[in-house]
């Protein structure tokens, strides 16, 4: 398994990055990409459970048609909190800021990112934004949903909206700087011999994600700046009561937020592209296509925002073009799925926890992607716009897809990050539980949406109750399955078996370093001479 480049080094004489400095300030002022990744991981875990608690309240409320415990006003605030926290404080940063930060320099054979101080600054901006956003959401009454549509966010919004929007503005600069750091690092800090086509797919997908972070996030920032400013001045750029145009808001918002959807899936695709070859013991099928499909998604993803506005008053010609482009953007995603399947074909597959999560990702992402094509179809979209069909669709992508990929990554690289092995049986159990809990939660929502149940209401007609009860039951399983890793992973930190440098026998430079890696990652800068995923070809 000395697949890529250098012979596996013995554990270095000195410390690992975890023991290199133990004071609080050695963590809070660190420039080490690996420690910053840990800081991010801890912060987004907190935000994940805050957003998850809000989701639990939503599902609890929807058990009965009249709403079990929340009045409509509170319900609106809760789903707004759920959306805002999950999108900006968990999903967008999730894989890039944790595994991107931790792995990118290791995969590139570099000692750190290009701009380590800016990396730390990004984390501080992120935490600051989290505090501001939560203060606004919990302290004030913001009930616009995460999309801040006008005029909900102008004439009808409270002053706390300005606080929340300001927090997301700060969050944007954290994203922008992270994206910039990654792009420059991938361009400039590849080890000798590590050409673009020798990069692991995780690097390609992180690159594509980072380009979107850099180029889409500023538009969100300026859009939210305009929302806050028109709120403070009482002037209308978007607010129709003051001569503004709410459609302009939707255009500018989705110009960011549709590409942002790909921020919330491309990194997951990168993770799965690492895990599938490792547990099928085969090279990744169609490497070049998988690599370029990430770039294609990033580029085409900028041209499809209008499909969020089919019923908002966009011209029929614009709608036709956006519909067509939305079908086109599905092609590179399909290319990836087919290539993962072809990689599995005739592989020696083993079903460790990361692989279970990755297979779950492939299935759930495919369902989410295919229902996306339903929504790109103009006539069908009119029927299900703003129903639970849409909610189910994007949860299949973001939760079934991205959160599964996040857990896949967490388990796959856990030995590398912590130097400990996690308990395999518990992890497999959690992976399977998440899969079933997820489907039970969200599949009924496709049916509810098709039957016409609108999203974002605290109450619903009684005939929808049975599907809602299914969904809420699934959510309780999902909640348990998400809490489970918190316990056994924490346990493994202290009691888990020590991990060898390369427990999976995987290719990739990160596995050539010790577990956990030393502060400078490698004793000598590695020299790369082989293609990625250099697993032995199976006998014909």
């Amino acid at each position: 398994m000395t697949a890529t480049t250098i012979v596996e080094l013995p554990r270095p004489r000195g410390d690992s990055y975890l023991t290199d400095g133990t004071t609080l300030s050695s963590w809070l002022l660190t420039h080490d990409h690996k420690r910053i990744a840990i800081l991010y991981c801890l912060s987004i875990t907190v935000f994940f459970f805050i957003g998850g608690a809000a989701a639990a309240l939503i599902r609890l409320n929807l058990i009965t048609p009249r709403g079990l415990l929340l009045d409509a006003e509170t319900y609106n605030r809760i789903f707004t909190l759920h959306g805002v926290v999950m999108v900006w404080l968990f999903l967008v940063p999730s894989i890039p800021t944790t595994f991107g930060n931790f792995l990118l320099p290791l995969m590139l054979g570099a000692k750190d990112l290009a701009f380590p101080r800016i990396n730390l600054l990004s984390w501080y901006l992120f935490v600051l934004s989290g505090v501001i956003v939560l203060a606004g959401l919990i302290g004030g009454s913001v009930d616009t949903g995460w999309t801040f549509y006008e005029p909900l966010s102008s004439g009808y919004a409270s002053g706390a909206l300005v606080v929340v929007v300001g927090g997301i503005f700060v969050n944007g600069f954290s994203s922008i700087l992270t994206g910039l750091n990654f792009v420059v690092t991938i361009h400039r800090l590849r080890a000798p011999g590590l050409t673009w086509y020798r990069l692991p797919i995780f690097c390609w997908s992180t690159y594509a994600t980072s380009v979107i972070l850099m180029l889409a996030t500023p538009v969100l920032a300026v859009t939210l700046l305009l929302v806050a400013a028109e709120h403070l001045w009482g002037v209308g750029v978007f607010d129709p009561a003051h001569g503004g145009d709410p459609l302009l808001f939707q255009h500018m918002f989705w110009f960011y937020s549709h590409p942002a959807v790909y921020i919330m899936i491309l990194p997951g695709m990168g993770v799965v592209s690492e895990i599938v070859p490792a547990f099928a013991r085969k090279p990744l099928f169609g490497y070049h296509f998988v690599a370029w499909s990430s770039v294609a998604i990033a580029v085409i993803g900028f041209l499809v925002w209008g499909h969020h506005m089919f019923v908002a008053g966009e011209s029929i010609y614009a709608a036709l073009v956006f519909s067509f482009l939305s079908f086109i953007v599905a092609v590179p995603s399909a290319i990836k799925v087919f290539n993962w399947l072809a990689t599995l074909h005739k592989g020696s597959i083993s079903f460790e926890a990361p692989m279970l999560y990755a297979l779950g990702f492939i299935l759930l992402f495919t369902i989410g992607g295919l229902t996306g094509l339903f929504l790109a179809t103009l006539a069908f979209d009119e029927h299900v716009t703003a129903t639970y069909f849409v909610v189910a669709h994007f949860h299949y992508i973001m939760v079934g897809g991205m959160v599964s990929a996040y857990f896949a990554a967490l388990h796959y690289w856990w030995p590398k990050v912590t130097g400990r092995l996690y308990p395999e049986s518990w992890a497999r159990f959690a992976a399977i539980l998440i899969f079933f809990g997820f489907n039970l939660t969200f599949f009924p929502q496709f049916i509810l949406g098709y039957l016409g149940m609108p999203r974002r209401y605290a109450t619903y007609p009684p005939e929808f109750q049975v599907w809602n009860v299914f969904s809420s039951a699934g959510a309780s399983i999902l909640a348990a399955a998400y809490v489970l890793p918190l316990f056994y992973l924490t346990w493994s930190l202290f009691r888990g078996e020590r991990a060898p440098g390369n427990p999976w026998g995987a290719t990739g430079l990160e596995w050539q370093s010790a577990s956990p890696p030393p502060t400078d990652n490698f004793e000598r800068t590695p020299r790369v001479t082989r293609p990625p995923y250099d697993y032995p070809e199976p006998a014909a």
Partner: protein, 213 residues
């Protein structure tokens, strides 16, 4: 000294310098998108209300706008000079010409402050007190709303630029920069030129509409 400035993730100073330059180009790309949103909003309203926007724009102070354009262009000339001097390792010349560029930026801000004061006296601050007779009063107000935002954001960028220049020029004064190591000068000058170019667009879009024959 070169060992001192070389960070561990780079092979040598050239590697570090080229990386820093790529970084600032990337940052400029994000800035283009940031300001692009405001320019898009501007374009949208100008397309919807061409007459009112032209009338509103004719109320801006062309003299100050033109003087400020000249000031920034001149400051960019000095920044280019600083870049060239840095390439030749003339650290003290770098310091001198950068101070001139920063001083021109400060004069720009002074003139801008005078212009802002006049604007407020003429009730051009958006909100309840706003008054400007145009074909569509709301559109006139939106024009000034975007005017304040765009020029305000530009002024903030300029202040950041002046701050950066002063820090770098102070290092230059101590002879830090050599033929091999002068990336910070290149980076700050690219940023300064970008802020200058943004102003050229602002000048054309804010001061010139409604003034042609």
């Amino acid at each position: 000294m070169s060992e001192h400035v070389l960070e561990k993730q780079f092979v040598d100073l050239a590697h570090q310098s080229e990386t820093a330059e790529l970084g600032i180009w990337g940052f400029i790309a994000t800035e283009v998108l940031f300001l692009g949103g405001l320019f898009a909003a501007y374009g949208f309203f100008r397309y919807l209300h061409p007459a009112a926007i032209a009338q509103a724009a004719a109320h801006t102070d062309l003299k100050i706008g033109a003087a400020n354009t000249a000031l920034l262009l001149t400051s960019s000339f000095f920044m280019s000079w600083a870049s060239l001097a840095a390439r030749d390792g003339e650290s003290r010349i770098v310091a001198r010409v950068m101070f001139v560029a920063a001083a021109l930026g400060v004069v720009f801000l002074g003139l801008k402050a005078i212009e802002y004061t006049d604007d407020i006296h003429e009730h051009l601050w958006p909100g309840p007190g706003f008054s400007l007779p145009t074909a569509d009063p709301k559109a006139g107000e939106v024009f000034y709303f975007i005017y304040w935002l765009l020029t305000g954001i530009h002024a903030l960028h300029l202040m950041a630029g002046i701050g950066a220049i002063l820090v770098i020029a102070n290092r230059a004064r101590h002879g830090v920069f050599t033929r091999a190591y002068h990336a910070p000068v290149r980076v700050v000058s690219l940023y300064w030129h970008f802020v200058d170019i943004v102003w050229i667009f602002l000048f054309a879009l804010i001061y010139l509409p409604g003034r042609g024959g």
